[in-house]
Symmetry: C5
């Protein structure tokens, strides 16, 4: 899983019919302190995550192992909203 | 999913028999403002996307979760045409 | 799928028994004009592609969606030989 | 599989229901001498690995081939704790 | 598939029970002349490959398409030992 920050939203009228009702959010991977880096990617949100939240995303076929994403053409899903992260015993991120 | 721009087309006479009728487009990944970067890749188009459109592509086995791509040797599919993208509450891309 | 050029061949006596009869070619990814870049990789050829040909390769489990590669430990297959590529309405590559 | 070091822990209240009871650890890939490099990622721990341990992680659908991770939206699992690594006949890492 | 050189071995006492009896080797990807580059990774060996051998490795779910790796949490397998490689008609590597 990747540690990522939710940074935005996407709107699409023309899409695969099975995606109706899937919320597709824009994310960027972050470091353990929540600092984003790298290029944006898009994942399905099943947990009502908000802009700015740090989350974990599962990729590939693992992104389809939820009731909402099963058998759908999606390759990334938010599977947890992060409360806090600790590295070597020290808290590096805490949700406000 | 990757945010990408459709930039071109491919023509192949010799191909896997199951690919007959699959439209294969050339894309490049873009940033949230639609600026392309990186190397070209090819995805199946099931949505009649046009050159210049910003789209979302699903990769790996997720690219086969459409009626057109099921059981075919393809690893990327266009699953949505993007109308607009917003980052931190600001619109960064809007389809013309 | 990746746009790639066939650059070479591999010979292996010791291999997984199910690979008997699989032609394994060496490729390098190319740009839309057929210029190769990056490191070599190996894919199964089911289309009798020749050295120098530009082809499309499907990766991961999608590489096993052909009658020749099904249930075999291979993660890349040549699924089309490219006749020509066009970008923004201009031909960037044409097979000789 | 990747050689990685366990560096931290994650806590999430809001998560996919099927993840209840999954321990999610933060890791960084290492070289053969255990020196970490690159960006952090998160994997399920089924082996009670400790902070500082060198482990092997399996990714993608292979991360779901354990009794704990089966059918869950996780794409990486710790499948072995490393005792020692040898390169060209010389021990490069030994667990303390 | 990646062209890689076997460079070392791993020993693990604590591991997924289904991995009992799986030989896990350390590899580095190579160029067509057998020159290694990049970071080490680990693959299951089913072919009794030796240190220094050039091999082909299949990744992801394709790494589980052998009788030894089926249903196990492994994401890379050695599926061929390379005898020789040719690029543009010239031999670039030959096993000694």
């Amino acid at each position: 899983m990747l540690i990522s920050q939710v940074i935005g939203t996407t709107v699409s009228t023309i899409k695969e019919p099975t995606l109706e009702g899937c919320k597709l959010l824009i994310l960027r991977q972050t470091d353990v302190d929540g600092e984003p880096f790298g290029k944006p990617y898009v994942a399905v949100d099943t947990l009502d995550a908000g802009i700015g939240d740090l989350v974990l995303t599962a990729h590939g076929s693992s992104g389809r192992q939820t009731s909402l994403t099963q058998n759908r053409p999606v390759d990334a899903v938010i599977m947890a909203v992060i409360d806090h992260l600790s590295v070597l015993g020290e808290v590096t991120y805490r949700k406000e």
